[in-house]
């Protein structure tokens, strides 16, 4: 897959192009530029670390949607074995915007559900850009109940711009399908771990995200509304998204501070898209550790803690 660069990554892109040219030159055998190349590599690493150490919320939003960023199936592939995909809601259709099934994590069986985006244009359309319809959420619901019935932990991956706003989606009860998942997940008698791997787009994201532990990748975002949508409402100008991104507090770090998420999982320098394999390793460590902590909690305690955690979220004054 070709590396794509975001606007603010351009200096890195320029440097990497130069390295590539020099490498090509050297491989022709004319002159030895190895020392020069090594220097440039170092410089590029430094530059990347520097750029990524001071990214703005809006840049984070862009990284969270980066076209090279690993998606749910990439993480399943890299972290787990024996994945068996489960399809269909048994009522209407199979929604490719959500994938689900059973897999093994270090030999331990678990159920997995996640939003799925596409990489190529064709895939993107097939996956509906990761925007589920009600049947997607109902497929997820089916797999949640499956997890409960067979007493397997549930791991969910969040990565969606939001639930799809379409005529059919409304006809088939988009609102109800999301609400049902929130309700069922809150009472599901099995440990649930959620990871926001990319874009956490509002209710369409939350529908897979009521959990005992919520992790967020370092450069993922989670928000009640997209920065563009917020800017359109506030200033009638979607182009002011970067200001809206600041206001909304959408970064993993913001959510950790507000105690909405439990842990921020480190990404390789330059983001998960620069080194997907390393990103999956880091995530796997966090997932295994967190699952171990919630796996043996008795269900009654687990459900009580899950509820109490939700009950605590919110800020208000009371007299």
């Amino acid at each position: 897959m070709a590396q794509e660069y975001l606007e603010f990554e351009k200096p890195i892109a320029d440097l990497e192009k130069k390295i590539e040219e020099l490498t090509l030159f050297t491989s022709n055998g004319d002159i030895n530029l190895e020392e020069e190349i090594l220097k440039l590599h170092k410089k590029s690493d430094q530059l990347r670390a520097e750029i990524y150490s001071r990214i703005t919320p809006w840049q984070k939003a862009q990284i969270s949607r980066h076209p090279n960023r690993p998606y749910t199936l990439d993480y399943i592939e890299a972290m787990m074995t024996d994945f068996v995909e489960m399809h269909g809601d048994r009522a209407f259709a199979d929604d490719p915007a959500i994938v689900s099934g059973m897999a093994k994590l270090d030999g331990m069986p678990l159920t997995v559900i996640g939003h799925q985006k596409g990489r190529t244009t064709k895939e993107k359309i097939f996956r509906n850009f990761g925007m589920p319809n009600p049947e997607g959420y109902r497929k997820a619901l089916r797999v949640m109940r499956f997890a409960e019935r067979f007493r397997k932990p549930l791991l969910t991956f969040i990565d969606t711009p939001g639930a799809y706003p379409g005529i059919g989606a409304e006809e088939r009860g988009q609102g109800e399908s999301i609400a049902r998942n929130l309700s069922v997940m809150s009472q599901l008698k099995t440990p649930i771990l959620t990871v926001v791997i990319g874009e956490g787009g509002s209710g369409g994201a939350l529908a897979l995200g009521v959990a005992d532990r919520i992790l967020m990748l370092e450069h993922s975002t989670y928000s009640v509304i997209s920065p563009e949508g917020c800017a359109a409402i506030l200033w009638n100008n979607g182009a002011k998204a970067s200001e809206a991104a600041e206001l909304l507090k959408i970064t993993a770090q913001d959510l950790f501070q507000m105690k909405v998420v439990d842990e921020v999982v480190e990404e390789p320098i330059g983001g998960a898209h620069r080194d997907p394999r390393r990103a999956a390793e880091l995530l796997k460590e966090a997932v295994v550790r967190n699952l171990a902590e919630i796996r043996n909690v008795p269900f009654d305690d687990l459900l009580k803690q899950r509820y109490e955690k939700l009950r605590r979220i919110g800020m208000f004054d009371e007299i």
Binding site: E176, Q187, I313
Partner: protein, 281 residues
């Protein structure tokens, strides 16, 4: 200069309720739906429903109470909760102040205990006039507490929704109120107690995608708009005009999303009849 003035196409019927619905102080009222000019007293006598076209005017939470519960039985609780600008969101404090002034409410919901047909219930009623009935921390908390009260006192829980969705100004905290309210109603179901959800004009976004669609029974007022995504968002996404009647209560009824459409004047009697089912041994 053009010789003939081009007639503007009539606005989509689904768009009309997006406009501000406000009954002016004057003697006469213009119906937002059929545009008829009606004598104001006549509308008020008719449960704030247009006598010509049956359009149910948007009403405040306190205006709704007499149509909902047994006379004089409502006792407000949890009225000490007020919103906080947790994110330091631009202009939120000012918006709260002006909404408070306009409605006399601290936030977009009132919560209390009441009787309907003699049956004690816990009740929340949303008010669209307060920042579009949006759900933030206070709304979510008051709903969760009302549900917990119902579990404690073993009464049914009734909600009246009227909301544009989650409150943007409280960011992720608003989104999480969807999970909080849904988890609360799930506990009510576990406790074997009924939840009756009443949808009014309009009910959208995070409210539709949480507690409002989780009622054991879901009732809606005639012609009210109910949906997940707003009609404008859908139109922009699919680049098509929406079919007539889209997202109206009747549309939801046809698609199996709600149990019944009940006129405002029949609501109290209908609720009383439903509640009797649960209270009779």
């Amino acid at each position: 200069m053009a010789w003939f003035k081009k007639e503007r196409p009539e606005k989509l019927s689904s768009e009309t309720p997006a406009k501000k619905v406000k009954i002016p102080e004057g003697l006469w009222v213009k119906c937002d739906n059929c545009k008829e000019i009606i004598y104001r007293k006549e509308v008020e006598k008719n449960f704030k429903v247009c006598p010509k076209c049956d359009y149910h005017f948007r009403i405040t939470a306190s205006e709704r109470l007499p149509y909902l519960v047994d006379e004089g039985s409502f006792f407000e609780v949890e009225d000490g909760l007020s919103p906080r600008d947790a994110l330091g969101f631009k202009d939120y404090k000012e918006k709260l102040k002006s909404s408070r002034k306009k409605t006399g409410l601290k936030d977009a919901i009132i919560s209390g205990e009441a009787k309907i047909g003699g049956c004690p219930v816990q009740l929340v009623v949303m008010d669209f006039n307060f920042m579009g009935g949006s759900m933030g921390s206070v709304v979510g908390e008051k709903i969760a507490r009302a549900v917990e009260r119902a579990i404690d006192k073993k009464t049914p829980f009734i909600s009246v929704a009227s909301s544009g969705g989650a409150r943007m100004q409280e960011g992720i905290l608003s989104l999480m109120q969807m999970a909080k309210t849904s988890a609360a109603t799930a506990r009510l179901a576990e406790a074997g107690l009924p939840f009756i959800s009443i949808l009014t004009d309009p009910t959208f976004g995070g409210v539709t995608a949480s507690f409002a669609m989780l009622g054991d029974l879901i009732l809606a007022e005639p012609k009210c708009l109910i949906g997940f995504a707003g009609p404008r968002v859908i139109e922009q996404t699919i680049k098509q005009q929406l079919p007539a009647g889209f997202q109206r209560a009747e549309f939801l009824m046809e698609h199996g999303m709600i149990d019944m459409i009940v006129s405002r004047k029949d609501l109290h009697a209908t609720l009383a009849r439903i509640l009797e089912f649960f209270t009779t041994e």
